[in-house]
């Protein structure tokens, strides 16, 4: 924690950044906040901890309002993947973002089943090994077709269409969302189109999902949406060798026309 406070203070004092997006302890709760040079003393209340918020979203909000300034932001492994991807999508300027890394704890990495629970460099935490194969996916893949269908239809039936999964997602920045298209997702009924609502969100997560897990944490109905998006990431890696945010070069497969690498026989198995 002290290291993060120290780094934020240093960056602000040396005028390398104009604001630092982190978490501030307020009334006993960690809250997203932008620390600035005007109130440098507040950096003492910066916390790291295990509670995670989509700080990239706050970064985007401030950067859209003030496109000329440079901002620092606390990032974990997943947040850094998000930043790399947002840069490729031209949502941020490379020279105007200064990420300061946090390596996640063993417990957090295990509960997230993260494949890389650390950014490229960090000031807080120690490197822990990522998880190669997710138990969540193995559980679903162990079921037969009928069991899977029953499982997923029951899960999607719980949806109250709060749009929390979309609103909290740090990678969702579209101004007009397909899930709000009245011809596609009819209004006035709950649960929303089962399964089209969730499957279409999953398709939108191709080449976008950074596996931060905030969607599942925000779901008031405890639908295991993260499992769906983990599977999407696995599909994209298997077919196109692409991992969201892994490299700062190369666009995601559905964003780039590219060359065809698949045969019909790969598709119609």
């Amino acid at each position: 924690m002290k290291e993060m406070q120290g780094r934020a203070r240093k960056l602000l004092e040396e005028k390398k950044i104009d604001g630092f997006i982190g978490l501030k302890m307020q009334h006993g709760h960690p809250a997203p906040f932008m620390f600035s040079r005007e109130n440098l003393g507040e950096v003492e209340t910066l916390v790291v901890g295990d509670v995670r918020y989509p700080l990239n979203k706050a970064l985007l909000k401030v950067a859209n309002q003030y496109p000329e300034i440079t901002l620092g932001v606390m990032v974990r492994g997943c947040d850094e993947r998000g930043l790399t991807e947002l840069l490729k999508w031209n949502q941020l300027h490379r020279d105007r973002v200064v990420p300061v890394g946090i390596a996640c704890t063993r417990e957090l990495a295990d509960s997230c089943e993260c494949y890389k629970p650390y950014p490229s460099d960090w000031v807080v935490g120690e490197k822990t090994e990522g998880i190669a194969k997710s138990k969540r996916l193995q559980k679903i893949e162990g079921m037969n077709q009928k069991e899977r269908l029953g499982y997923w239809l029951n899960q999607f039936n719980k949806c109250i269409k709060c749009y929390g999964c979309r609103d909290v997602c740090p990678m969702c920045f579209c101004e007009v969302c397909s899930l709000e298209d009245r011809n596609f997702i009819l209004t006035g009924k709950l649960p929303p189109e089962n399964p089209t609502f969730h499957l279409s969100r999953a398709v939108h997560m191709v080449g976008r999902c950074i596996d931060c897990g905030l969607c599942e944490e925000a779901c008031p109905s405890n639908i295991p949406v993260r499992t769906l998006y983990k599977k999407i990431n696995e599909i994209v890696k298997e077919y196109f060798g692409y991992r969201t945010g892994e490299s700062s070069e190369g666009k995601s497969p559905l964003n780039l026309l590219g060359e065809v690498t698949l045969e019909l026989s790969d598709v119609n198995k």
Binding site: H29, S36, V51, K57, Y163
Partner: protein, 135 residues
């Protein structure tokens, strides 16, 4: 240039989910669920996610309005309350107390709801009281 989040409680229903209002330069920019809140535990319904939209909305009512000849015109609180009281008295006199029904709200406190049902039962004399959550 200022970005901060303010911890507050959602006012839409009796649940009282904890949420952070995002404030960018004095204007509400969004809402985030409070993950450390013991009631909501990081979840919000669609109303909670959009609670930032109505607060500083230009279409919010700022003064009491009375309808005259099909048009709304601005009035003072005294004028508005006098109008309501006299009309309710008239209806109660002509059609009886049971012709008036009262609808309370989940956005009010328990105390405010108690007062309204007391008004309905003791002052107007009807038990036609219901709550928006039943709709």
């Amino acid at each position: 240039m200022e970005y901060k989040t303010v911890l507050t409680t959602c006012g839409y229903c009796g649940c009282g989910c904890g949420l952070y209002l995002e404030v960018l330069d004095g204007q509400l920019a969004g809402a985030q669920p409070c993950k450390t809140d013991s009631v909501s535990q990081g979840g919000l319904c669609i109303k909670g996610w959009n609670v930032h939209e109505f607060v500083q909305n230009s279409e919010r009512l700022t003064k009491p309005l009375i309808k005259k000849d099909g048009q709304f015109r601005e009035a003072t609180w005294d004028e508005a309350l006098d109008t309501v009281a006299s009309r309710l008295k008239k209806i109660k006199g002509e059609k009886g107390p049971d012709s008036i029904a009262f609808l309370t709200s989940a956005k009010c406190t328990n105390e405010e709801n108690y007062l309204l049902q007391k008004l309905a039962r003791a002052v107007v004399g009807t038990n036609h009281v219901d709550h928006c959550a039943r709709l």
